[in-house]
Assembly symmetry: C2
C-alpha cells in the first residue's frame, strides 16, 4: 500500500462506503464558502437534498473531462484540483486551481458541456449538485440565484486579472500567484505564510505561461533575497510585504 493511499484512509476512514450518511450542508464547516448567504432552515434542507457526496478522488483522477455533458456543478470539500483546457496538439493549459469551498464547472453553462478537464492534485472530496435541480432551486431562492451569478461573474474577473498579469515579468507573476494562494488559505483559516503547494513547478509554470526552469530559478532567487523558504512543496513566506511589493513595482 502506498503512502497516498494510507493518507487517504486516514483522512477518510469511510472511503469506499457512501458519504451521504454523516455530512449535511446544515452542519458543514465550509458551507459559508460554497453558499455564503443566509438560507431558511427549509431552504438549507432543500439544498442539502439535491447534493450528492462522491467517494474521494485520488491524485490524477478526473472529476470530468472537456466535452462531457454538464450534469453537475461541484463544490470542493477538501483537497484541491486543477482545471485545464486541451490544446490542439494535446498539451494542457491549466486555467485554474481550486481549493475547498470553491465551485467547479460553472463555465459549462455556456454550451452545456464542460470546456475544461478537472483533475485532482491530491486526494480530494467534492459535493455534486445536480444541474437541473440547481436551476429549479435558483428559480425559487433569489439569494441562490444571485450567488450563482456572482460566482460566475467573479470567475470572469479572476480570469481578467490573471490575464493582466501576463504582461508583467515572470518575477511579478509568480509573486502574485503565491500571494493569491496565501490569501485563499488564510480565508480558510489556514496559515497565510506556511502552506504546502499542491501543484508541481511544472503546473505552476503552465498556469503562469512560464517554464518549469523559470519557476525553479525564481524560487531560488526569492530564497536568496530572503523572501521565502521553500523545501520541495513546503513553502514558508518570510516577507509577504516585499513579495507584494514585487507584484506592484
Amino acid at each position: 500500500m502506498d503512502f497516498l493511499t494510507l493518507i487517504r484512509m486516514e483522512n477518510h476512514p469511510r472511503a469506499g462506503r457512501t458519504f451521504e450518511a454523516h455530512v449535511h450542508c446544515q452542519s458543514c464547516s465550509i458551507r459559508k464558502l460554497c453558499f455564503p448567504f443566509s438560507l431558511g432552515d427549509d431552504e438549507i434542507v432543500r439544498l442539502d437534498n439535491i447534493i450528492k457526496r462522491n467517494r474521494p478522488l485520488q491524485r490524477h483522477e478526473h472529476l470530468f473531462r472537456a466535452g462531457d455533458r454538464m450534469q453537475h456543478v461541484y463544490a470542493l470539500r477538501s483537497g484541491s484540483l486543477k482545471c485545464y483546457l486541451l490544446n490542439a496538439d494535446g498539451s494542457e493549459q491549466i486555467t485554474g486551481f481550486y481549493l475547498p469551498g470553491e465551485l467547479i464547472g460553472l463555465d459549462g453553462f455556456g454550451t452545456g458541456t464542460y470546456p475544461t478537464c478537472a483533475a485532482a492534485l491530491e486526494t480530494t472530496l467534492v459535493c455534486a449538485v445536480s444541474l437541473t435541480q440547481l436551476e429549479e432551486l435558483a428559480g425559487t431562492i433569489p439569494h441562490l440565484r444571485k450567488h450563482l451569478l456572482r460566482a460566475l461573474s467573479r470567475e470572469i474577473h479572476d480570469e481578467q486579472e490573471h490575464f493582466t498579469h501576463n504582461r508583467e515579468t515572470a518575477e511579478q507573476r509568480l509573486a502574485a500567484f503565491l500571494l493569491n494562494l496565501s490569501a485563499r488559505y488564510a480565508r480558510r483559516g489556514l496559515s497565510a505564510t506556511d502552506f504546502i503547494l499542491p501543484m508541481s513547478r511544472g503546473e505552476i509554470g503552465n498556469y503562469l505561461s512560464l517554464t518549469t526552469e523559470t519557476i525553479s530559478r525564481l524560487f531560488t532567487r526569492y530564497r536568496q533575497q530572503g523572501l521565502l523558504n521553500i523545501d520541495g512543496r513546503e513553502i514558508h513566506l518570510l516577507n509577504p510585504a516585499a513579495l507584494c511589493h514585487l507584484g506592484v513595482a
Copy 2:
C-alpha cells in the same frame, strides 16, 4: 461641427431627444443576438418595458467606469466598445471588444460594481437593462435565467481561450484575433473577409499583450505573404484558411 458629430446625426437623427419612441425589442433586428431564445408576447413586452435606450455615445465616451455601482447591464445595439481594467500605474489593460448584440457589464455581479471601464470606439448605441428589474424577471422567466448564466459562462470561456493564446507566438495571436473578429462580423450578417477595424494598432496590441510596433510589423508581414490587404483600418482577408493555419500550427 466635426465629422463624427455629422455622422452621428446622420445615423441617429433623433440624437438629443429620447430614443424610447420608435424601437422596441419586439421589432429589434438584433434581438436574437441579445436574448436568443423564444419568449411569449407577454414576456417580450415585460423585457421591453425594463429596457432604456440611451442617447448615442461618441468615440472615447464612457458607458461606465471601474468601481461605478452596477445598476444596469447593457446590450450593444450598434457601434463597438472596449472594456479595460486600470492597472496600479494608471495604464489600461483592454479585456475585450464588444460588437452589436453583445452584453456588457455582466462581470459586475461579483461585487456589485463594474470591475472594468467601458469606452466607445466609435459612435455607439446601447440598451440599458435595469439590474434589479432584470433579476426579478429572471426569477419568473426560466429561459432568461438560463441565458444569463450562459452568457456569463461563455465569457469565462472566452477569457480562458484568450489567455491560452498568450503562450502562442505574436503571429498566431494576431491571426486568431482577426479570425475571431471575422467570425463575429459574419454572425451579424456582415462580410467575413472585409471589415473595418474599430480599434487602433495600439489597442489591438494592448489586448493581445503586444506592442503597437509588433502589430504593425505583423500586418506588413501578413501583407507580404499575401494573407490580407490592409489600408489604415480597412482590412480585407485574402486567405483566411492560411491565417487559420497559422493559428493552429
